[in-house]
């Protein structure tokens, strides 16, 4: 049986050259579909990547009970030290807890294309950098504690106006100069950072947004959480940093992913009709050849399988071509959506999604023609001109 499938399919593929343009309908149809799908998904993928990179399973974030975002959360000055000295928090070589009080605020910006946008401005406490080994200064210097200074991420510097060293950012009660540029390789690249305590005073705020801690080990989360949730003085939610950013990422990418899927499905339907058309035509062109094989004793199943196989191979070729185009056009470029700045990514996983998408279309588009090919009475097909 397998041998029959092999022989019939091989025969198919050898005759493809004669049906080149007809077959190109499937290749181009799925190429366009997958190219568009992956181009759109390169945004959600890149954004997801940036958020996932931000979350570290060895860290935990503490926000006020039930808060969905750092912006909604508020941790009082009194609560912060209790959280930072809780069991489960790692200590540095001086015995100080590796934990940081953080501030978060929306910062209105002008994008380079002239439209208005928002990004996040973050406050780092004394342990902010120690907590994040991924943080590197790439130009200028670090902001000084107690001074009204900011540093800018590489992504924010690329995407927004007036974000070079020496530029000033308007904040309540004064303008703060940018003194350095940093990179973290994650979502923080699109943001700005200043000193938590100085920002707190300038913004007339009385509370932090969150506390970030390094756990003694990844398994220490439960100890840490238990210590905080059983403390009646605190009303907080403890989340592993990586899980926190998975949730944030889902919120941020949701709408874009839906749009990508909708466009992808509509195009796939269009490609499906093209695929059906081509495979019906292929089956009818090869009617005599198929009938001859059947007359020689080949089964109906190998014939049907060979038709579906052909449609899948063409579709996958198209999908790979489309993925290649999507990769060339998008991969590595800086993208922005809402408050997020990230690198567009056409990952192997995405290519895999595109290929499976194409295989589904090819299966659907090859099935009916394959049944027709297998069912056609041999004598009638042999007689037909």
């Amino acid at each position: 049986m397998l041998r029959q499938i092999w022989i019939v399919s091989a025969l198919n593929f050898r005759s493809l050259k004669g049906r080149f343009w007809q077959s190109m309908v499937i290749v181009v149809g799925l190429g366009a579909t997958i190219g568009v799908l992956l181009s759109m998904m390169s945004m959600t993928q890149g954004m997801r990547q940036a958020y996932f990179n931000t979350g570290d399973p060895g860290r935990a974030i503490v926000v006020s009970q039930g808060a969905d975002s750092e912006g909604q959360s508020s941790i009082s000055r009194a609560a912060a030290p209790i959280i930072m000295s809780a069991p489960g928090v790692a200590k540095d070589k001086d015995g100080k807890p590796l934990a940081d009080r953080q501030l978060n605020m929306g910062l209105p910006v002008l994008r380079k294309n002239g439209t208005k946008g928002f990004t996040t401005m973050r406050g780092f406490g004394p342990q902010g950098v120690a907590l994040r080994p991924e943080f590197h200064l790439v130009a200028g210097r670090m902001f000084q504690t107690g001074k009204r200074e900011l540093i800018v991420g590489v992504g924010a510097r690329t995407m927004f106006q007036q974000m070079q060293i020496g530029d000033k950012v308007i904040l309540p009660n004064g303008q703060w100069p940018i003194v350095g540029v940093y990179t973290t390789g994650d979502i923080l690249d699109g943001q700005l950072i200043g000193d938590t305590e100085t920002m707190l005073t300038a913004l007339n705020r009385t509370a932090y947004n969150s506390v970030l801690v390094r756990l003694t080990s990844q398994d220490a989360l439960d100890t840490f959480r238990k210590a905080l949730t059983t403390n009646p003085a605190l009303q907080v939610t403890v989340t592993r940093h990586s899980d926190w950013y998975k949730k944030v990422s889902d919120q941020a990418t949701g709408l874009l992913a839906v749009l990508a899927y909708v466009v992808g499905v509509v195009m796939a339907i269009g490609a499906l009709f093209g695929c059906l058309n081509t495979m019906y035509a292929a089956v009818s062109t090869r009617a005599r050849e198929i009938a001859t094989l059947r007359a020689l004793g080949y089964g109906a199943l190998p014939v049907a399988v060979s038709v579906i196989l052909e449609s899948i191979v063409l579709a996958v070729a198209g999908a790979l071509a489309g993925a290649a185009v999507a990769w060339l056009l998008n991969d590595g470029k800086t993208g922005t959506w809402g408050v997020s700045i990230f690198r567009l990514t056409v990952s192997p996983g995405l290519v895999g999604l595109g290929v499976s998408w194409a295989v589904v279309v090819a299966l659907a588009g090859g099935l009916l023609p394959s049944i027709r090919a297998a069912r056609r009475p041999v004598v009638e097909a042999l007689r037909a001109a």
Binding site: G29, G106, G270
Partner: protein, 384 residues
Amino acid sequence: MRHLPLVWAAIVRKPMRAVLTLLSVTVAFTLFGLMIGLNAAFDTIAERARADRVYTWPRYGGSAPITVAHQIEAMPGIKAATGLNFLPGYVQDPKNQAFVLMVDQNAAKVFGDWVPPDQWNVVWRERTGIVMSRMQAQRWHKKVGDTFTIICKTIKRADGGTTWTFRVVTIVDDIPQIFNGFIFGNFDYIDKAKPLADQGKISEVDFLADDPANSTALAAQIDHTFANSATPMQTITEKLARSGNDFGGLDVKKITFGIALAGMFMVLFLTGNGIAESVRERFAEFATLKTIGFSDRAVTAIVVLESALPCVIGAVLGVGLAAVLARQIPKLMPPTFSMPMPTMSPAVMLWAAAAALAVAALSAALPVLRLRQMDIASALSGRA
């Protein structure tokens, strides 16, 4: 057109091919309509945006003292300024988000194009009066005279209450810039009901410039004036705020046209291949036509017509389907995220017609060339 019977006969000879081609073309044009229609909606918004209207609000959220509005109105070059407050909340269930824009009487000047002046007067007459745009009236099933109650947990009344009751005194048409419609009410009603310490605060100032050419400079001037104050302001002209390509930072034009083009490219291969095959199958027949005196022009017309028919019909069906689907989009969108409804404007139809004809012409080009150069004798004998 007299060749239509010939063309029709050619198409129905392979009904499966005809139907599948038409379906594929229809789907591609549905996508085309939705994409170009979305872009057209953004374009309309950008066009309708007024160059002389400017928005300014506290850069870091929260509220500013109402004196900011007075200060701005007193600046030279400004016609009128209105201080706004937002009343965000929900109707009955937290899922049903809604908000009312609370404005003072200067709004009649600043937003005279949203709500006609006589309708503004109807609002001013009643303390709890609100004007709803049709879309909002439809969403909450309200007609003139109905009460409308919003629950707002963030803005407290002096008596501690969280519900705000209004009466719909008039309903007006929507404007394209505001995707989900709007509701305006009296600033004083909310302001005076708040605790004394919270009164006299605004969350936005909107104003008209005397000279549209001056509005960008005025915006910069206001940012500069308040930059070092306790409430730095963020100012933007309506023109800039609504300039297309402002969909979360995406370049709408590039993306919509890119997707539409990809769809057309897909279809081009399908129809081009279809017509080439159809001509190849009937090569001898075309030779016969030429023999009995059909000119090259007539033969060309037949092929072009055969290739144009599915493109044009598909374009009409596709754009029609897109128009139907577009109307469903607002219902499917989460209320917190607004996206303009794709509009099938004359420009969109023109684009669709151009695309359909381009696909038809490109598809027919090679077969036509082959037919013109055919050697009739060998074609008739089936040797070509």
